[in-house]
Amino acid sequence: MAHAATADAHDHSPHAHHEQSRLVKYLWSTDHKVIAMQYLFTGMFMALVGGVMAYAFRMQDAFPGSSIPGFGVVAPGEYNSLVTMHGSIMIFWVAMPVLIAAFGNFLIPLMIGADDMVFPRINRLSYQVFLLSVIVILASLFVPGGAFGGAWTAYPPLSAQAQFNQTGPGASMWVIAVALEFVAFLLGGINFIVTLMNARAPGMKAFDIPLVCWMIVIASILFMLSVGPLIAGAGMLLFDQLVGTAFFDPARGGDPVLWQHLFWFFGHPEVYVVLLPAVGFVIEIVAVFARKKVFGYKTLLYTTVAIGVLSFFVWAHHQFVAGIDPRMANIFTITTLLISIPVAELILVIIATLYGGSIRLTVPMLWALAFVFEFMIGGVTGIYLGASGADVYLHDTFFVLAHFHYTFFPIAIIGNFAAFTFWFPKMFGKMLDERLGKIHFWGTIVTFNAIFIPLFFLGLKGEHRRVYSHLNFPELAGMQPLRVFATAALVVMLLFQLVFLYNLWKTFRKGPAAGKNPWQANTLEWTTTSPPPHGNWPADQMPKVYRGPYEYGHPDRAEDYWPQNLPPQSA
């Protein structure tokens, strides 16, 4: 992995070349933008790893037992490892680092007019701990027995005992890697929160903060308040694995359901931890490309806080079939259905912002609109699963799998592409190719739906997740064409990512210069050069703030935008 990190560094630092000192300087930089790039490119690399894993196990599902081009025959144990690692990597090493760490690092200081994070060295430490967790999880692919194969939720006793999961060393490394990753994001999260609270530009009041900063910081708070019990749980699981304690072993007085509580007490808020930054990206992009003030800034903010509070009271909806008391299941059904109200409100605020705007269908805007559309499918199918009666039938089927991919794919892939294409000019000072961007967009969105809509139907017919070969079940074998179709769509989607990589390569070579403010946006990051220098602004030109971030189409002004830092008399 040290190799991959080096390759990363070469990717995005034109200065690194082969001078050792520059490279060392780069790896030890405390500049928030450099750390953001480190997180971004590590996350993108891990997305590639997770994507290839999906390719391998989807091919196995479509053509069980045959040799897969570029991979070979997938053994049953390997299949377990692939499925587990795909889930873990996509959540912990793609969604989290890119959505929160990369964009949080890049955007927060720039958008609030600060020269860096308040604790630059803790910020660097955060990435280094994260990199260590990446190394541990990638190394676990190569230990005897292979990577952990007990599913990303790591339910004991399956996860606690090597005789069940068959991947003893991999299981322990998984726990250690996840715990390290949590430490990295706690360090990063504290930095985000304190930076937003204390380091804002003069004049920037609480409701002048761009919503994406609020979203990332509220997400960091949710993460911090939910992850603690799981850190304790991870320690207990590690002791069960290595020392021989019996925290989760029912035969010796432990309780396996306790792990499920600890895991989902974190796991469900985690959904909102990754959702909120994505909503933040979308709302920024929609305001800019609808040329319109965000509909209900405070509504959106209070709604988000309501989601945050409610998200701590829904976790047991993952455990309706774990033998919990049916009365408790009723309570969690009600809270789960309640939380769909504020989430719907977020979506409605975005749609209301579009209403009456003068919409520009740029590539980032397309991604943002696709987020709204696709995420709604994920949200609506979640209502079936939140109702405990329906969930008893649908639990652990492909319906669940399709549902949460309709939430996580819009969040982690669509949301990230939206943000990446929107802030790319600021990050690298060049404009991406719009035509290639649109080809990539449509190629990804159409194939995404082609993968997961069939899986809803498979799930409704009772097909369970994490099954090595569905052909072994006569009642499920007849639906093989649907599985082949979904897998074919996945292969096409992965191929379309080459368009994206080509676009990047082409833009880095000879893309047109972006200038300071290519999208004519209001927020502070667009007032400095692209890419911004170390310190973001010259020390004597730190921005001051005079108004909110979304003053588009103001009647008193000739231009349809009004940057936050312009003094009032210049209207």
Binding site: T30, A114, D116, V118, M197, M224, G228, G235, G253, D255
Partner: protein, 191 residues
């Protein structure tokens, strides 16, 4: 390379950045210990027989350690007071006394655990002992880490540098103290 950004010295809330961060660190620590202790409580309620195991733990040793920790928190407060007055040397002296408390706590703990392990009560004996060693062990790690950081802060303070950190490590030390206040009754007194 690591110059201090002007962001660090801004204070939109009016609370100094370092103090704000320490409070957030404590918030994250509270949920870690909270999760562990809630798990213990749930188990404990389902296993009345664990009372037999608690009966083995030595309440007097636990009480002595409680006294040691509380006193060390007191010297941490005196250190803060000295730092407020700008007397770094005096602040450092009080912090060294607090570190002495930490060392006493760990030594007593070592003696206590040594006896218990020798008597056959290990982390794998049963659920109670698993929680006992895990929770008290995690707390002990916090004591050790706090003492090390305190040493760094005290060394600086003695030379009159970074006096505001005396308060920050003090806040953390009170937290370590408060965690023990929860652990002591749960692991020693509740029979």
């Amino acid at each position: 390379m690591s110059h201090r950004p002007m962001a660090t010295d801004r204070s939109a809330t009016g609370i100094p950045t370092g103090r704000l961060a320490v409070w957030w660190v404590l918030a994250s620590e509270i949920v870690i210990f909270g999760g562990l202790l809630a798990s213990y409580l749930m188990h404990r309620l389902g296993h009345p027989e664990w009372a037999n195991a608690t009966a083995v733990t030595n309440t007097w040793i636990g009480a002595f350690n409680t006294l040691v920790l509380l006193s060390s928190s007191f010297t941490a407060v005196l250190g803060h007071q000295a730092a407020e007055k700008g007397d770094g040397r005096q602040a450092a002296r009080y912090l060294y006394m607090t570190m002495g408390g930490a060392a006493t706590f760990i030594l007593v703990k070592t003696y206590e655990w040594g006896h218990e392990i020798a008597a056959g009560y290990t982390i794998t004996s049963n659920g109670f002992w698993s929680f006992y060693y895990t929770a008290a062990g995690l707390h002990a790690l916090h004591v050790i880490a706090g003492a090390i950081i305190m040493g760094i802060v005290a060394r600086d303070a003695a030379r009159g540098r970074n006096l505001h950190r005396v308060e920050l490590i003090g806040i953390y030390w009170h937290f370590v103290d408060v965690v023990w206040i929860f652990l002591f009754p749960l692991l020693y007194i509740a029979k």
